[in-house]
């Protein structure tokens, strides 16, 4: 493959925004994106077993998953962040390997009124070893549970950061993304017990 000069292209970075239906994923994508969120879809082929493979297509089921995404260019670092919001309660995106492979990590956006909607995403990222953080979207009419209660309810391991956020607010969403990247970096430090990479720049 022909090599491409790096200054021609920014480095693309994929971040997944997952969580239950109505948790505010598209709002979160829109808060950070420099373009109005776009929607696209993919046709996923899943192999189904115990069906004779007669012509190479039988025995497979196709399903369509949609996703919203936004883009944020960071010129100073020659980067472009792509934030992909996975669809509501549709779990077929779990089969979309291309969404996950090469992703920096994921934010599981949770709504305390419907915490159970976040279980599947938490379980999925935990299982696949993708760095993720859980962000509680603070809806105005939602009861403010203490973080420890939320962590217990989600059976969230101690090493997974849990934050509060306002998905409508760009600085708040930026803080969530910073926490995710810090977490992803910390996971690479063997035996590290760093909890304070959050210090402001000196």
């Amino acid at each position: 493959m022909a090599s491409v000069t790096s200054d021609l292209y920014p480095d693309p970075v994929k971040i997944i925004i997952a969580g239950g239906f109505g948790a505010g994923k598209t709002t979160m994508v829109g808060s950070i994106s420099e373009i109005p969120p776009l929607t696209t879809e993919e046709i996923i082929t899943t192999a189904s077993e115990d069906v004779d493979d007669l012509a190479g297509v039988e025995g497979k089921t196709t399903t369509t998953v949609a996703l919203d995404f936004g883009r944020r260019t960071i010129h100073e670092q020659n980067l472009v962040l792509y934030l992909f919001g996975t669809p509501g309660q549709d779990r077929f995106w779990f089969m979309w390997d291309d969404l996950r492979l090469g992703a920096l990590g994921a934010v599981v956006l949770a709504d305390t009124r419907r915490l159970e909607h976040s279980f599947a995403a938490v379980e999925f990222f935990e299982h696949r070893g993708l760095p993720f953080v859980v962000a509680i979207n603070q809806f105005d009419d939602a009861y403010r549970y203490p973080g420890s209660a939320v962590r217990a309810a989600l059976q969230l391991p101690d090493h997974v950061p849990l934050l509060l956020c306002d998905a409508r607010d760009r600085p708040s969403v930026t803080r969530v993304l910073i926490a995710l990247v810090e977490h992803a970096i910390q996971r690479r430090i063997p035996g590290a017990a760093h909890h304070d990479l959050t210090g402001s720049t000196t």
Binding site: A2, V4, L8, Y9, P10, D11, P12, V13, K14, F21, G22, L38, T39, T40, E41, E42, I43, T63, T64, V65, A66, F69, R71, I74, E76, Q77, N78, L79, V80, L81, Y82, F84, P87, G88, Q89, D90, D98, L99, L101, G102, A103, L104, R114, H117, T174, L177, I178, V181, E182, A184, I185, R188, S200, T201
Partner: protein, 119 residues
């Protein structure tokens, strides 16, 4: 399950135009392109020499743009954009960036961190 907000996911199953018409039935791109891989018009091919679908994909690649964006702006599934862009890469009309690697370099993560902190 019935959520309190109703069920908006139903329309994923709605009938739709046959998606592979634009690719003449091809469903496998010849070159793997990540969702977030960036593509760019090299200027080597005049759009008039291309079929409509290829020309319309090419017209979206004036500046580095992701495969996902090309798909969204063409209102086509990602796989269709992949097939068309892979064709365009093969004839030299489009070049592509490196895909995000399976194991991201720590240095890249640090650049993301600095970039986000300075937003």
């Amino acid at each position: 399950m019935t959520g309190s907000d109703g069920r908006d996911d139903e329309d994923f199953d709605a009938p739709r135009a046959r998606p592979y018409t634009a690719t003449k039935g091809r469903t496998e791109p010849q070159i793997h392109l990540d969702l977030a891989a960036l593509v760019l018009n090299t200027g080597a091919c005049h759009p008039d020499t291309l079929q409509f679908e290829h020309a319309s994909a090419l017209s979206l690649c004036g500046s580095p743009v992701s495969v996902a964006e090309v798909a969204a702006r063409m209102a086509q599934p990602v796989v269709v954009a992949r097939v068309l862009l892979s064709d365009l890469i093969r004839i030299g009309a489009v070049s592509s960036s490196q895909a995000p690697s399976d194991s991201l370099e720590t240095q890249l993560l640090e650049r993301v961190l600095i970039g986000l902190r300075n937003l």
